[in-house]
């Protein structure tokens, strides 16, 4: 087990190294730079911009800039934002809470609901409920998150006035209840697509198990229906779901970007988009590396979990 983990860990480090070089190069190859936004400002001249670029070290050869940045990355100094001068890690941590709050709550919602719908659909195959769930999932998958978010705001904020139209909390009122009120719409919108995906996977995973010999044996032994369902079928059907969760994590982060925009949720996705708009290199690279670490870690944990849950994987 330890060897397995170390092996995977080594792989991950190499990947991160490659991501850092690729990301850095592509970012700097794109035209324009962090100072191009000031070119049209009254009183600013090209000569002055060149001088500022020099002081910021933007005129140095690219490999030198990369080396400087990368050594900083290794020792935990991820640089400072070109925009507000704050440390990149502080900025990321500031936005991480918002994203995690949204992603975790919507994941709990979608995994719970998705599993339930999937299990019910599989045990009552071809029933009215199963068909309804299938059609519902197709519709949910086809609706763009942005549009769905705006419709939700229109109905629940503008027409009914039940929920706030955006933001994470009311300024001056940061109680748990206030957070919860603000969280309802964005997490439901984000969960909608996830429920659809999750229920489809759960259903087919259940069906894979339901017809297997050991299930028939268990039934033949005369075990209670519920015991067969929970102890035999569900436990086995959930194993592929762990891997799915690992793969879905990064998708959730990018799916959160749209939700974050519609509901003005100050998360990582928006930080990344804003930083791209202003060519804030240190922050862009910081978020990129952070996401890469997050993705690799997600997969690593999923692999370890599968290995510990499923004895068949451990034997190899």
């Amino acid at each position: 087990m330890l060897r397995f983990i170390l092996h995977r860990f080594g792989h991950s480090l190499l990947l991160l190294f490659l991501v850092s070089i690729l990301g850095f190069t592509i970012l700097h190859l794109a035209p324009g730079g962090p100072l191009s936004q000031f070119a049209l400002s009254p009183g600013m001249t090209q000569a002055e911009l060149h001088k500022i670029a020099e002081r910021m070290g933007l005129n140095r050869p690219l490999p030198v800039q990369w080396f400087d940045w990368f050594t900083g990355l290794v020792i935990g100094d991820w640089g400072h934002s070109f925009r507000d001068g704050r440390a990149v890690l502080d900025i990321i941590m500031g936005h991480l809470f918002a994203t995690l709050l949204l992603v975790i709550s919507s994941t709990i919602l979608s995994v719970g609901l998705g599993t339930l719908v999937g299990v019910l659909g599989a045990t009552r195959r071809y029933s009215a409920f199963d068909y309804l769930a299938t059609v519902g999932a197709m519709i949910a998958l086809s609706i763009p998150t942005f549009w769905f978010g705006l419709v939700a705001i229109y109905v629940f904020s503008l027409k009914l006035g039940w929920l706030p139209s955006g933001n994470m909390y009311s300024i001056g009122d940061e109680s748990v209840l206030d957070y919860a009120r603000h969280l309802i719409m964005p997490s439901c919108v984000l969960a909608l697509v996830q429920v659809a995906i999750w229920s489809r996977y759960m259903r087919s995973s259940m069906l894979d198990v339901i017809d297997q010999d050991f299930v028939r044996t268990a039934r033949a032994k005369g075990l209670a229906r519920s015991r067969v369902l929970y102890a035999h079928i569900l436990r086995n059907a959930l194993i592929p779901m762990i891997t799915l969760l690992g793969i879905q994590l990064p998708t959730l982060l990018s799916g959160a970007l749209v939700t974050e925009t519609v509901f003005t949720w100050p998360g990582i996705g928006r930080l990344f988009l804003d930083s791209l708009g202003y060519n804030d290199y240190p922050v862009i690279m910081g978020v990129l590396m952070f996401t890469a670490i997050f993705v690799l870690l997600g997969n690593l944990i999923a692999d370890i979990l599968v290995a510990s849950v499923d004895p068949r994987v451990r034997l190899e």
Binding site: A30, P31, G32, G33, L35, S36, Q37, F38, A39, L40, S41, P42, G43, M44, T45, Q46, A47, E48, K51, I52, R55, M56, S81, R83, D84, G85, R86, I91, G94, H95, A98, L150, I153, Y154, S157, L158, G161, P164, S165, G166, N167, M168, S170, I171, G172, D173, S175, L177, D178, T261, V262, F263, T264, P266, G267, R270, L271, L273, D274, N279
Partner: protein, 552 residues
């Protein structure tokens, strides 16, 4: 506490009551206390929505318009400029002019008298030392200064006493008062000791003299300013001012409709929603003129555009009225000049450009530009064909481009639309005059000042080694002469004659074809008083200190 007329949202007091914890209780009590004092003290708050995020709190480091929306409320200049273009004293006791002896007749010697009752947000007194420091900071070669123009000419700043100082100018520079009206004073006692002027804590903990003090900034979310109880001037009337960052224009508008924001600021309401917005109950929609002028800009270094008759014909083929009415929903105002119509210096006698494609064709015929085999006009081997570029993704402007393209095609002129991402478009392509033609909105003037040397003097052609924004490569000796004269005159009446002539010549030379002067659609909840658009500054939140809620 936000005034909310007509929206069925739950009252804030009920939410407050549901809160637990001592922090919540304290807040509740303080808000009760504040409302009791409301008659003579500050009360209420305002939430302003911006589609861009203010991030640069240091007013002299490179920044964009949105940042100035905060600077105006944290800091003060020596004097401000009101919507009519007049200077009003802020940190000075009297605006220096030639009449009151503050500026010498030749414009070379300045004497500035300061108020003696101003304190910084940290309690330190504001003195002449701070003014000297602020101006010298702009001259510091190690500092990433946003604007050195004008400040570079200041020499020999002498502190007479704590509230009076003098300086000399290397040469007379009439736009300097306008530049000073944007130059926010920063504290010497905090920034003076910084080792590296570019890396200071001030960027995130600004200390000013303004009507509001810095509360907090939650990155990507909002900025909160608190009323400054020791403010020397009028206001503030509000206890808190909050700028919310709402990146999507549709969402920004939606939050204005739901009442989550009280004021819709930069970039406001899109013209296609103008009519709908006017129907929202409990909201006031304001058409705020901006100093930016939209134009078709020619690169006069290209062979197609050297013949003045070509530029005249292209002007005749430009249907300004339809562009304004049909594409921009009638929001902006057609204009003939590069100066805003609100300016004292706008030349009222400029002839109105006509739209007459048949006449445009005649002009081209007469000038010898004849259709070639493919129907495109040409003369001496030069085809009357060119690219028109602007920022990619601006769908409204793209419609205007296509509209112009069609008219041109009907008179045998080929215009190809080639739009570029902003970083490419406004980089060397624009600055070094590599384009053919561009559709662009430019703010030519320096605040209320009519000086446009940077744009129209021949020394401003970067492509020819100059330093400036004369990207049209426009060169007219008389205009050069007039601009030099206008830049050294300090009496408005005398300057007006000069700039009237500049506008007339440029109107005839047509290095660019003005289409319209921009207007921005802004809005706020009914009951908010003091919101006053100002064409002489770049942002609408320039006077939040004077805003208040009417008692309803």
């Amino acid at each position: 506490m936000t005034h909310d007329n007509g929206t069925p949202r739950a009252g804030i007091s009920r939410r407050r009551l549901l809160q637990t914890g001592t922090a919540g209780m304290t807040l509740m009590m303080s808000s009760v206390a504040a409302s009791r004092l409301a008659a003579q003290e500050t009360s209420g708050q305002v939430i302003i929505g911006f589609s861009q995020e203010p991030t640069v709190m240091h007013p002299h480091m490179p920044h964009i318009e949105v940042d100035e929306g905060i600077h105006f409320n944290l800091f003060d200049p020596l004097f401000t400029v009101d919507p009519d273009g007049n200077f009003q004293p802020a940190l000075v006791s009297e605006v220096p002019t030639v009449e009151n002896g503050g500026i010498s007749e030749d414009g070379l010697n300045w004497r500035v008298k300061l108020r003696d009752d101003v304190v910084w947000h940290d309690g330190e007194p504001f003195t002449a030392k701070d003014v000297k420091f602020t101006i010298e900071l702009q001259q510091n070669p190690e500092f990433n200064a946003m604007r050195r123009t004008g400040h570079e000419l200041v020499r020999n700043i002498q502190i007479v006493n704590d509230h009076e100082l003098t300086w000399e100018m290397e040469s007379p520079f009439a736009p300097y008062p306008a530049i000073l009206s944007w130059t926010f004073m920063v504290p010497e006692h905090i920034l003076g000791s910084a080792e590296d002027p570019n890396q200071t804590d001030f960027r995130n903990n600004p200390i000013g003299t303004g009507p509001f003090t810095f509360g907090e900034r939650v990155a990507g979310n909002y900025i909160l300013l608190n009323a400054n109880p020791d403010y020397f001037g009028e206001g503030p009337h509000l206890e808190k001012a909050i700028w919310r960052y709402i990146p999507d224009m549709t969402v920004l508008y939606t939050q204005f409709r739901t009442g989550d924001i009280d004021v819709i600021g930069l970039q406001g309401i899109q013209p296609d929603r103008f009519e709908q917005a006017q129907q929202i109950e409990g909201r006031e929609i304001i058409v705020a003129p901006s100093a930016s002028v939209e134009s078709i800009s020619f690169n006069m270094g290209k062979p197609q555009f050297q013949d003045p008759e070509v530029r005249r014909a292209l002007s005749l083929a430009l249907d300004r009225k339809s562009i304004v009415e049909a594409i921009y929903y009638g929001v902006p105002t057609p204009t003939e000049s590069f100066l805003p119509k609100e300016s004292l210096y706008y030349n009222q006698d400029l002839p109105v450009a006509e739209f007459d494609p048949a006449k445009a064709a005649e002009v081209l015929d007469a000038a010898g530009w004849m259709p070639g085999a493919d129907g495109i006009r040409e003369k001496d081997g030069v085809r009357l064909s060119f690219k028109n570029s602007t920022t990619a993704g601006n769908s409204v402007r793209e419609q205007a481009q296509q509209f112009y393209q069609q008219t041109l095609a009907s008179i045998g002129v080929e215009m190809e639309i080639s739009n570029l991402p902003p970083a490419v478009m406004w980089g060397e392509y624009w600055q070094m005059s590599e384009f053919d033609t561009v559709m662009v909105g430019i703010n030519f003037s320096t605040g209320p000042d009519p000086d446009v040397s940077n744009y129209l003097h021949s020394s401003g052609i970067s492509a020819q080694g100059g330093a400036g924004q004369n990207t049209w490569q426009y060169k007219n000796d008389r205009v050069d002469e007039l601009l030099e004269k206008g830049g050294s005159l300090f009496v408005p009446e005398k300057r007006k004659e000069v700039y009237d002539e500049v506008q007339m010549i440029v109107h005839e030379d047509r290095p660019f074809l003005p289409i319209f002067q921009y207007a921005n659609l802004r809005g706020h909840k009914t009951g908010l008083e003091g919101f006053k658009p100002n064409v002489n500054v770049r942002i609408e939140t320039w006077n939040v200190g004077q805003w208040s809620w009417a008692d309803s």
